[in-house]
Amino acid sequence: MSSRDKILAAVANNQPAKIELPDLSAFKTGKAGSVEQFAQVLTNIGGKAIHVNSWEEIAAFITENYSTTRVVTPIAELTGFKGIPANSDPHELYNVELAVIKAHFGVAENGAVWITEDNMGLRVLPFITQHLAVVIDGGEIVPTMAEAYDKISRLSSYGFASFIAGPSKTADIEQSLVIGAHGPRSMTVFIMPGRF
């Protein structure tokens, strides 16, 4: 008997009687998420929220604050920066200073944004970059994770996706919070009005 069959047989033999799944509809508020709350929580967890009105404004901010030769973005609307050519090797992103990517929506209760593989160009980009910037539509904020998964079920499928909430961090040494563990040392979220 294979281990698979052995494990499955033991589970079938030992598992208790089945109990129905709970009804989770009460956790959905039916309200829109608060942009103010999202920005506040994001700030509390070490991120930064910036309200902008156009792609040009974002580009100007980047040019002013980062060394543009090491800025990478798969966003077509952001011109003047490096893109990610098809079939690139993820290891080549090792020296990226700033990555700018789109997110589908933000979550007010925890400051997280939902980013799928098609936003990233390469999966490793939002993790390997020294600094991360994300662009979201200010109308796309949900109040809690309950609404977040509701929304995800209506978006197209993905091979990889992540909720990202703030910069990479650790408190493993005596519980002292240090921003910039292995990944981004900062996370900026550009909140732009209207669909894009």
């Binding site: 079938a12 208790p16 989770l24 956790f27 967890i45 998964y149 091979g159 519980q175 910039g180 563990a181």
Partner: protein
Amino acid sequence: MEVTTKDHAELAENFNRDEDRVDWHDETLWWVRQKRDKMVHQLPEWEELREAASAIKNNVLGNLHNYLQQFEANARANGITVHWAADAEEHNQIIHRLLNEHKVTRMVKSKSMLTEECGLNEYLHEQGIEVIDSDLGERIVQLAKEPPSHIVLPCIHKKKEEIGELFHQYLGTPLDVSDPQVLTEAARGHLREIFITRKAALTGVNFAIAETGEFVVCTNEGNADMGAHLADIHIASMGIEKLIPEKKHLGIFLRLLTRSATGQPITTYSSHFKTPRKGQQMHIVLVDNGRTVQLGREDFRNSLKCIRCGACMNTCPVYRRSGGHSYHNAVAGPIGSILAPNLDMEKYKDLPFASTLCGSCTNVCPVKIDIHDQLYKWRQVLVKKGLVPTGKTIGMKVMGATLSSPTIYRLAGKIGRWTLKHAPFAVNNNFNPWYKQRDMPEPPEQSFSEWYKENRIKK
């Protein structure tokens, strides 16, 4: 790593020799508990969330046979290779075989308590394969050649000066540097170099979803993602109890997990792995290692609902004052003490007694495991099996007789108060285990019932 034959009480005694360190350890963990409370009190629906999480996990336990097969089929359809391991040894062999097939001798690994449970690092080391732990806390204990002392905060027992010494020795930081910012920066440089050069990455799994065949890994550092997205082969190890039925259930668990663990609203990264990236191989190893046995123990199967947040450790007065290593098991604290005897009753017979049964663990558990009840039930099992030392059994019998007879109880109280007052030396000595680390209290003049007779009944 050191193999110990000492029990919890003896190991705790070692830890308790340095009183300042015990106070510091106690306060640090209590601070984490307080951060959790602050977060929890912001959510009016907290108790409903716990109830829902508990109900979902109960459903999983009762339907695990189907969910496992559903998960396997969906993961395969997503292009993930699924392996089954009956025990720790088979798990380790599967990983070793996969690495051999890819001619890999150096692997980077993110936090996985399951691989600690299986002794994977030691096994692979013997096969000539180097494993580097990439979670900062785990890397620190790895350099110190120690096991983690906490499932979420692996090096919570270490002072920054000790970490500074380790980094000076292994990572070349200047002598006497102990600033966490500087040390973390040094580890960042060291580990980014590891991520970029390793062709195989192993991660744990926080949740696996039967409905979609994907799995979720949560980190704050981003180390699981750095390893997995740069490697040619990604192996994820998971216990079979990590399954949840549907993706929407993450909307419950991800709200509870990090608030309970560290008092953050969510981890920095909650990554959903569904298909391998182009050109990459992705493997999942489903591990039993005693879980199906625990599933069959009616009184203890609830322990399989655990989502490994560590809240029960942070709140436990015994854990905080005895340290994680005194539990001599991969998972320490209250939850470890109900999981470990299932694996080896003889080896871990001491752990269910490493508790005051105060119930604080049960109160903070985000999936409502009745931890302190299970600790109490394990004690009964262990006594019936004759695994408890005679001294403890006799003591319990004397206590039972005393508490069941009002006359003996009153007499014992009188003797106790007289002794504390007139002959304190009879109890304030090292023959009395209660005297360790504490003085015996000042005796009251009379018992409560004596006081009540004098002050209330006559009125």
